[in-house]
């Protein structure tokens, strides 16, 4: 058989089950992530960067590349790029330049993109991520500064895609918005968990960028975009296979699905004796598959050269050190620290993270609540109400400070759990802070022993059977009397106190 015939094997014919593929091949992944910075103005001009503005209302001679215009670097964007590099444990280049990447495509009117080539501002980093209970180190090759391109709308053809379109409509508002591109080295040794590791890495970047405050990181709006490379090599081999690059993977779930799909597709082709074509592939969220895009058989020639209109960037080491102090703890380190400080089990912590309750519990503990109580309220009552209302937990209707206040009232004996739930109702209904709700609804536990004593005596008189049982040594019978007292007090009594009073009166 000739190579041509083999490479024409259709994915449907050659598909291989994922587990079977894992028995035969090692997976190598690589991820390129573009982060759109949240600066107010563009990378090289003072146009605004607002998402969703009317088309072509945020452009100027610089970002349109009009003759005679000159770019000037946005200092805030450089600061953000350095902070991103530091958060990825990268070295920061003491001296680096911008470069022109030359290409003809209508998304940039300049016919080049200002980027960095052989001198990225950040290089040689690594981050640790956790996937499926296991930790993996992701080596980071580089993080460099560049500008985003305009947005195209493809008209005609069936799918709104570039293939088959009759013509395209361009909006240059996004052209020139600052980007940082983060590129991993080839990631080996993740085994069958490769798709989960890729997802965990992108989730790490999203959380870290958010913690740094450098980007909105909204995948659905394209402010965090991911291209996923994958190649397979037969088990035991050390020669990297031919890789494909899947674009348009715009949610965490898609990253995992797209990689699984590509692994099964490539494994099928290789096992049938075929050859994987080096190409760009597009992910289709609806069909859950990738399709062939531009072929990369002929390497593109971008004729990079140093940007003559911009002087080099040479970050002062003292500045870099000042920025280093602003870098938040990595998510993995934070979770490890909090798990220990709070005394939660790993399972409890995983549930907390899964429910998006970590920040809320941390803030509640900072407001003076014990970790266990904070977890009880957020993962119990509040999670239940948020679920019922189909709201994120943070929007359940109570602030961490209010939860801490509520727990304080419980610990002071002002509220029992049942009353506390009514207080939560009140807070969510907008009646104010817990103490205000208690006052307003008259919910406090009755501590007037005179009133309580009278209620106990009435209940004893009304339940002679139960009294006889208690006297016969069956203390559990006290429940009927306690219940009657609680009912008369409309729940506003401390059950333990009532029990003591009942047993003392009968005994």
């Amino acid at each position: 058989m000739t190579t041509t015939a083999l490479s024409a094997i259709s994915p449907e014919d050659a598909w291989m089950d994922y587990d079977e593929a894992m028995d035969l091949f090692d997976v190598v992944i690589g991820l390129e992530v573009h982060v759109e910075l949240n600066t107010a103005s563009k990378m090289f001009c003072s146009c605004p960067t607002d998402f969703g503005a009317e088309p072509n209302t945020q452009t100027c001679p610089v970002c349109l590349g009009l003759p005679g215009s000159l770019p000037v670097v946005n200092g805030k964007a450089v600061e953000s790029a350095i902070r991103i590099g530091l958060a990825l444990n990268c070295s920061i280049s003491p001296h680096c330049r911008f470069a022109r990447k030359n290409y003809f495509y209508p998304d940039m009117t300049k016919n080049f993109q200002t980027s960095q080539y052989d001198e990225p501002i950040c290089f040689d980093g690594e981050v640790e991520v956790e996937a499926d209970g296991e930790r993996f180190t992701i080596p980071v090759e580089r993080a460099h500064m560049e500008e985003d391109a305009g947005k195209s709308l493809h008209v005609g053809g069936a799918t709104g895609r570039i293939q088959g379109a009759e013509y395209s409509l361009m909006d240059y508002n996004r052209a020139g918005v600052p980007l940082v591109e983060i590129v991993t080295k080839p990631v080996l040794g993740t085994g069958a968990k490769a798709p989960q590791v890729a997802r965990a890495y992108v989730a790490f970047l999203r959380d870290m960028m958010r913690a740094l405050g450098v980007s909105d990181v909204r995948m659905e709006q394209g402010s965090l975009r991911c291209d996923a490379n994958v190649s397979l090599m037969p088990k035991g081999s050390t020669t990297l296979g031919t890789r494909t690059e899947t674009k348009n993977v715009n949610s965490l779930r898609s990253i995992e699905r797209a990689l699984r799909y590509e692994i099964s597709r490539q494994a099928g082709i290789l096992a049938a004796g075929g050859r994987v074509k080096q190409e760009t592939r597009h992910w289709h969220e609806d069909g859950g598959r990738t399709s062939s895009g531009r072929s990369k058989e002929q390497a593109e020639d971008y004729r990079y050269f140093p940007e003559p209109d911009l002087v080099p960037v040479a970050p002062d080491p003292a500045w870099v050190e000042r920025l280093r102090e602003t870098i938040p703890e990595s998510p993995v380190a934070r979770v490890a620290r909090l798990t220990e400080a709070w005394g939660f089990t790993e399972l409890e912590m995983r549930d907390v993270i899964g429910a998006d309750a970590l920040d809320l519990i941390e803030a509640t503990v900072e407001a003076g609540c014990s970790p266990q109580a904070a977890r009880k309220w957020w993962m119990g009552e509040l999670a239940r109400r948020a679920n019922a209302a189909d709201l994120p937990l943070a929007e359940a209707g109570m602030t961490p400070a209010q939860v801490a206040e509520l727990q304080g009232l419980v610990e002071a004996g002002t509220l029992n759990d049942k009353l506390a739930r009514q207080v939560i109702d009140g807070v969510i209904a907008g009646e104010g802070d817990p103490a205000q709700v208690v006052a307003h609804r008259g919910l406090a536990v009755v501590s007037d022993t005179g009133a309580l004593q009278a209620a106990v005596e009435r209940a004893i008189a009304a339940n002679p059977g139960a009294v006889a049982s208690i006297k016969a040594g069956r203390q559990a019978a006290a429940g009927a009397i306690i219940g009657a007292v609680m009912k008369e007090m409309r729940g506003q009594a401390d059950a333990a106190t009532v029990r003591e009073l009942v047993l003392a009166a009968v005994g």
């Binding site: 003072s46 200092g75 495509y105």
Partner: protein, 98 residues
């Protein structure tokens, strides 16, 4: 190593410039001469000199992250060869076959 007409044809192709055979031949000679002249200048520079990409020895020229007004959209679209829905209308990007 002298430049060949093939090198120049490749560059012209990348730059989307259409050249006739005569133009190609003429430009190959001229570009070759320019490269030779640069070689002469380069050979007069001490070898330990660091290459530079800029005539100025400045670094870190930054502007504050402040927004200034963009161009009015009418002025921007007036430069477009064709306009539709306030966007630049451009011809088909990929060939049909792909």
């Amino acid at each position: 190593m002298p430049l060949t007409p093939n090198d120049v044809a490749r560059l012209a192709d990348l730059a989307r410039i259409e050249l006739s055979d005569e133009e190609l031949a003429g430009l190959t000679g001229q570009l070759d001469l320019i490269l030779e002249s640069v070689q002469v200048v380069a050979s007069s520079v001490p070898p330990e000199t660091t290459p530079t990409s800029h005539a100025l020895s400045l670094t870190n020229v930054f502007r504050p992250d402040e927004v200034r007004p963009s161009l009015p959209v009418e002025d921007v679209l007036a430069m477009a060869p064709a306009v539709e829905d306030d966007r630049f209308r451009v011809p088909r990007i990929l060939e049909e076959a792909a």
